[in-house]
């Protein structure tokens, strides 16, 4: 290494002579940090998404590499958020990738003291059985004067404000056809 290279490699020299007088960019860079690439550059794909927390609807870009979410950032194109995210939105990569997230079905038998594992297909069949049974046991055809009621008050549901419109649409459609009217979500709360 020549003296000139040595001096030019010195951050203070680069800070005083270069285009970065405050020493917050190029001047402070080491060979290692200069060679680093952001995860957003090496991603296999980017999905345009929307933050799942409050109702402002900030744009997000979701970066995926090797089948894993590697980064979630604000979308600068969004006229709503202009690339910003709040602490919650910024933490939404953890929301998706945290090892505390539950990824398998859990089942608690009546009177049991703990969870047990259950196959998803089995759980679906069991839930369908219970819906059909609860509906049959609590069905109301007509009121005392013969007016139609067509319903069950034996089934309730709460939730929807964190879900997609398409999901809410199917929920309401199915429950209505089954006569289950006790469907509510956070908008009531």
């Amino acid at each position: 290494m020549g003296v000139r290279t040595w001096i030019e490699g010195w951050p203070v020299y680069r800070q005083l002579t270069g285009t970065d007088p405050l020493g917050r960019g190029q001047a402070a860079q080491s060979a290692r940090s200069a060679a680093l690439e952001p995860r957003t550059k090496t991603a296999d794909s980017v999905a345009k998404s929307v933050c799942p927390y409050c109702a402002v609807g900030c744009g997000q870009r979701v970066f995926v590499k090797d089948g894993k979410v590697t980064q979630i950032e604000g979308d600068p194109d969004s006229p709503i958020s202009r690339g910003r995210l709040c602490p919650k939105g910024s933490a939404s990569k953890s929301l998706v990738t945290s090892d505390r997230r539950i990824r398998t079905v859990l089942y608690r038998r009546p009177y049991a003291k703990d969870w047990e594992e259950l196959d998803l297909d089995t759980a679906m069949e069991m839930i369908a059985d219970r819906v059909v049974k609860a509906r049959a046991e609590t069905w109301e055809d007509k009121d005392d004067d013969g007016r139609p009621l067509n319903r069950t008050l034996g089934i309730s549901s709460l939730g929807g404000a964190t879900l997609d419109n398409e999901e809410n649409y199917l929920i309401k459609k199915l429950f209505t056809a089954m006569g289950a009217i006790q469907i509510e979500n956070q908008a009531r709360i």
């Binding site: 999905a47 998404s49 929307v50 799942p52 409050c54 109702a55 402002v56 979701v62 995926v64 089948g67 194109d77 006229p79 709503i80 958020s81 202009r82 709040c86 602490p87 919650k88 953890s94 929301l95 998706v96 945290s98 505390r100 997230r101 539950i102 990824r103 398998t104 608690r108 009546p110 049991a112 259950l118 679906m124 219970r130 819906v131 059909v132 046991e137 009121d143 007016r147 139609p148 067509n150 008050l153 309730s156 549901s157 709460l158 939730g159 929807g160 404000a161 964190t162 879900l163 997609d164 419109n165 929920i171 199915l174 056809a177 006569g179 009217i181 006790q182 509510e184 956070q186 709360i189």
Partner: protein, 859 residues
């Protein structure tokens, strides 16, 4: 707003940079107050008195925007001579019936329309079914023809009634009720009125804590009256912005997972009111009124076609008889009480955590412990899934694991990046999310869960010949699926929501194309156009920097991609912008059409000078200057002759729990509030009842930036948990001294329902108020904590009882009374004894509940 909607708040700061004055009114000094030009602290629950004072200031000084008010509002409309005001009846309006606690609103009607009033029985039904919610997209029905005095001098015109009603809300009264010094109050009035008119507009922003009051709807109405009087509606930089708290809570109201609505604010059929299809449709469209609701038959038929496909025919009234019927209140709180009473067998929780997030947490958990089965679908383990082993009631012995029969299924959900679909954000904007990757292991979308649940239920009923199963079997339930998990195609569902021509399957471009002959199907008429031209309009992502300031090519806004509703009002009656700097849409006389920066909220070629024939109805009855096209009379309503359970004008009532006697009227609290008088739902005593001193303080709750609602999506995350690690309670230095509370030490807050412990923060962010000759202290708590997660703590919502707004059945969970004591709360059985002692001292027992009407009211 800086705290709970920080990224949206950047626009407030942009406006401030450009010279806007920012005023923040809140019981507690927050991150918003810190950057506001003026902060006004007021007593929790006194907002109508404060805003009513602003109305009085406008009217006494004649500062209303008269050229806007006369043509665009109902200020000139004459009201029935039978109407009597709260000013004459001790805080009640005419027509109160103490037996049912509802009004007979016949006397509230416009002159000559008394026969169109709903009956008292109707009003009772409307309260039980939260019928006010139907008005989210339009006004309630009134006939088109009204008597008007455009000089505003008639003693019974709305303008004069308004003036008399609010005459009592003087700056002195505002100070007395709200605890706001009059100089501060007058500064707000001056700023608001000075900044409204031809050249300037003022925006009113509220967060939905406003809805969580027994007078919540009337809070918002009071704001609406001011914004109409000052000409701030339908104009850029004006309006009323509701900041909602969940990614698609607007969407879940538009396409409702709510008991009383069908998509697009059509009512769920009521067993008496809507026995037949025609009764149902006429109840929606109200033949004879003005505006677009006259086309309700096309919306209704198209919805039933979307639901039942080929099985919806003219011969079977489009399958109307398949629909279930309401008989009364089936809301979430009624359901929970029914669970406690053993009437509900199964419960689905879909991304919602009522054990922490709903009022009266103990009732929520006791209800869930008395089900046959519970299905919880969430990303993380939440308190509502584990009540049987670690709830507060396990500690007190009220729930015993080995004796709790509830069978619980926890099914992990797909996250927002693992599925595609639309959220509707708080400005009615649908934004499509692309899917980044498949959900892991057993995680699935709600779309997957409900599509396959429907498939499995249909398999089980396929051989049934029971009448009741026909609706399920005749349901149009065929959606394309793909991938290893057979995920339904969300875009196919969005196309059904948008609507299509039945014969050709071609997507519709607008709800104006809907037919009532069965040739169109449409899952939600107000969303029609989101798939216009066969293109997913919600997926549009033209960068904001590459389009106009209205940014019409980012996402899609209902209705018709219209960014500001009622924007006809941004131009004067002749169609000319009120001022060049506030131009938004206008009449182009050369082209003979409405044009501008946004999609005009008006018939495109209807001239400003158009006047309908006398017998016209529906859209044709709208004049060229009827800017409020979804209202039965085409006007913005200062006075609401119909549609509200608790009165045509907002009036200050005390919260259901208050330490103060109402300073304005003999009537203490909203006389029509929805109550559940049960021993397990005791409310703290409030004047004129004795013993309110046992719970001498007022408390309120709200959010922190770093957490989200009941914590299921935030207390599980390391960064957020580190940023806000513990439950705390804020008190003023004066209260800390009065009760011996130590900064950073422990304290517990007590109500008739629960005792909740928290770390103490002594702070000047809360200040004591001097009211009624004494000092009133207010306490603040965040409501994010519960027993699961990386950080745990007591739940503030356990403190509340259940009392609801009569219009929309939302609970009063932003104000209550309490005591606060130093140290941690008792545990185990001792906790129950501790609360029982408070109840005994407060004289609360199962034989007495607060009366709806208080002595002296009605006189």
């Amino acid at each position: 707003m800086a705290e709970a909607h920080p990224v949206g708040f950047q626009w407030v700061m942009e406006a401030k940079k450009r010279g806007a004055t920012v005023i923040h009114v809140d019981p507690r000094y927050t991150r918003t107050s810190a950057v506001a030009d003026q902060y006004v602290g007021l007593r929790v629950g006194s907002d109508i008195a404060f805003l009513g004072g602003v109305i009085n200031y406008i009217l006494q000084n004649e500062l209303d925007f008269r050229e806007y008010v006369v043509p665009y509002t109902n200020a000139a409309t004459i009201v029935s001579e039978r109407f009597a005001d709260t000013e004459d009846l001790g805080g009640l309006f005419s027509g109160y019936n103490p037996d049912k606690g509802v009004y007979d609103p016949v006397s509230w009607q416009y002159e000559g329309q008394e026969q169109h009033a709903p009956s008292r029985g109707d009003t009772h039904m409307q309260r039980e079914t939260g019928a006010g919610l139907q008005q989210e997209s339009h006004g309630p029905p009134v006939p088109a023809g009204v008597n008007r005095d455009e000089t505003l001098q008639h003693p019974r015109c709305v303008y004069q009634i308004l003036k008399r009603h609010y005459a009592r809300y003087t700056p002195e009264v505002v100070e007395q009720v709200c605890g706001v010094p009059r100089e501060q109050f007058l500064k707000v009035c001056e700023a608001w009125t000075r900044n409204s008119g031809r050249e300037r507009t003022t925006a009113l922003v509220y967060s939905v804590g406003w809805t969580q009051h027994t007078v919540g709807v009337q809070y918002i109405r009071t704001g609406a009256i001011i914004q109409l009087l000052l000409g701030n509606m339908g104009r850029p930089g004006g309006g009323i912005m509701a900041l909602r708290g969940h990614a698609s809570i607007q969407g879940s109201t538009d396409i409702p997972t709510l008991f009383n609505l069908l998509p697009g604010y059509l009512p769920m059929p009521h067993f008496q009111q809507h026995e037949t299809f025609d009764q149902w449709v006429d109840a929606i469209r109200h033949p004879g009124q003005k505006g677009f609701w006259n086309n309700a038959r096309t919306y209704a038929v198209s919805l039933l076609k979307a639901y039942f496909g080929e099985h919806a025919t003219a011969d079977n009234d489009w399958g109307y008889d398949y629909l279930p019927r309401l008989t009364g209140d089936h809301g979430t709180y009624q359901q929970v009480l029914n669970m406690i009473d053993g009437k509900v067998k199964g419960y689905f929780l879909l991304g919602q955590n009522p054990a922490v997030g709903s009022a009266h947490g103990r009732a929520q958990r006791l209800g869930m412990a008395n089900l046959d089965w519970l299905v919880v679908r969430d990303l993380y383990m939440i308190e509502s899934a584990t009540f049987w082993k670690d709830s507060p009631e396990i500690e007190t012995g009220e729930i015993v694991t080995e004796e709790c029969r509830t069978e619980v299924f926890f099914l992990p959900a797909a996250s927002h990046v693992e599925k595609e679909g639309t959220f509707t954000q708080t400005q009615r904007m649908l934004q499509w999310r692309e899917k980044a990757l498949d959900p892991p292991q057993d995680c699935r979308s709600e779309l997957w869960f409900f599509y396959h649940l429907g498939r499995l239920v249909r398999e089980r009923l396929a051989a049934s010949d029971l009448e009741r199963d026909r609706a399920v079997m005749n349901l149009a339930w065929s959606y394309p699926t793909s991938g290893q998990h057979a995920e339904p195609d969300a875009e196919a569902v969005l196309k059904e929501i948008n609507g299509y021509d039945v014969a050709s399957s071609v997507p519709l471009s607008s709800y104006t194309q809907l037919k009532d002959d069965g040739s169109t199907a449409c899952g939600c008429w107000i969303y029609s156009g989101v798939f216009a031209d066969g293109v997913n309009q919600a997926a549009r992502r033209k960068p904001g920097s590459e389009q106009s300031w209205v940014a019409p090519e980012w996402g899609w806004v209902w209705p018709a991609n219209r960014r500001i509703l009622y924007n006809r009002a941004s131009a004067d009656p002749h169609g000319v912008p009120w001022s060049p700097r506030k131009a938004y849409v206008w009449w182009d006389a050369d082209k003979g059409e409405w044009t501008g920066h946004d999609n005009p909220d008006f018939e495109k070629t209807k001239e400003p000078s158009y006047r309908p024939a006398e017998d016209a109805t529906g859209v044709a009855a709208l004049r060229g200057d009827d800017a409020f096209i979804m209202q039965g009379d085409g006007k913005g309503w200062l006075y609401a002759p119909q549609g509200l359970i608790d009165g045509p004008l907002p009036t200050h009532y005390e919260p259901a729990e208050s330490p103060l006697r109402n300073p304005l009227y003999a009537q203490q609290a909203n006389p029509t509030r929805k109550v559940y008088d049960r021993p397990d739902n005791q409310l703290n005593p409030t004047p004129p009842d004795a013993h309110s001193e046992v719970f001498p303080y007022i408390f309120t709750t709200s959010r922190l930036t770093e957490h989200h609602t009941a914590g299921g999506m935030s207390r599980q995350l390391a960064y957020l948990s580190e940023l806000q690690p513990a439950m705390f309670v804020e008190v003023s230095p004066a209260l800390a001294e009065e009760r011996g509370l130590e900064h950073l030490g422990w304290a517990h807050v007590v109500t008739g329902r629960a005792a909740v412990e928290a770390r103490v923060m002594v702070t000047a962010r809360l200040r004591p108020l001097r009211l009624d000759g004494r000092v009133i202290h207010q306490i603040w708590l965040p409501y994010h904590w519960g027993g699961s997660g990386l950080i745990t703590g007591d739940s503030a919502n356990d403190l509340f009882g259940i009392t609801l707004d009569p219009n929309v059945l939302i609970q009063e969970s932003k104000v209550g009374t309490c005591d606060i004591r130093p140290g941690r709360r008792p545990t185990g059985r001792a906790l129950l004894d501790y609360i029982a002692d408070y109840l005994r001292r407060a004289g609360l027992d199962a034989s007495h509940y607060a009366p709806l009407e208080t002595p002296g009211a009605g006189e």
